[in-house]
Symmetry: C2
Subunit: 157 residues, 2 copies
């Protein structure tokens, strides 16, 4: 007999263990899909003209060297992203890989908790601590190496 | 004077005209973000062990030469995708680009209507007509060339 009768009991690291089938865990929403583009106005026009989907929020994030336009889709966003500085990681991405899906942002309740869960597995992170993101969020990026080539952003609203 | 006072007035193709700021248009949800991986079991373990996010649905789609595992996140999915045939487009993608985000699926009310909206703009599509997708959906892919490098799937539940 054991007192741990709950199959989703937390272990001391705070991670869920043996989650039930279909469990959502720390990821509560696809916050956004980020598309790296060279011409932000043209990309905005593509989504508006083709799908009638229009921009809800625009922001220049100088610390990341990018300007973004957010198209709201239900509780998620399409994040159109263009570099405003040659040193931006997005500028390097465009040079190396061309336009396309750059990263996916998952909404989490607590960015620090989710980042710790990644570190607890021994996986690398790009940000060592949560930092300010766009539209007042708190964010951290996970290194794509162990995440099957996917650049993952953890986003706390 | 002209009667066309609205620069984005609706034309006879039935596309949305002059969408209000933040309008969603034809895209009603991010249906899924598809991640191309070489080892499906390892990728499933990554999301379960790191985030406590587990698989709700698995399916082999022989017509596309892939096996997929769907992790539900709110009303969206992370779609882990691996080839089961050398001729699969996903096999070619892995050979050329490696693991990573392969495409994004947007949920639409009517796949045929959304596909027609793309064609009405003169943009190429991979599928010329809607076809069966996984979990009983009806789907069509848009060519990434004009879509800023993004492979877009239109998904009708």
């Amino acid at each position: 007999m054991t007192t741990a009768t709950n199959p989703t009991a937390q272990d001391s690291s705070g991670q869920n263990s043996a989650p039930a089938e279909g469990a959502t865990g720390l990821l509560i929403e696809i916050d956004h899909v980020a598309i790296a583009v060279r011409d932000l106005e043209a990309a905005i026009a593509y989504y508006a003209d083709t799908f009638g989907a229009t921009v809800e929020h625009r922001e220049r994030i100088d610390s990341d060297g990018v300007e973004e336009a957010l198209i709201k889709v239900a509780d998620s966003y399409i994040q159109l992203l263009t570099p405003v500085a040659d040193t931006s990681p997005v500028a390097k991405y465009l040079d190396n890989k061309g336009e396309g899906i750059h990263h996916v942002g998952y909404r989490v309740a607590d960015c620090g908790e989710a980042l710790d869960a990644v570190k607890a597995q021994g996986y690398r992170t790009i940000d060592q601590a949560p930092r300010p993101g766009s539209r007042g969020t708190t964010v951290a990026f996970v290194h794509p190496k162990e995440a099957f080539g996917t650049l993952i952003e953890l986003v706390q609203e």
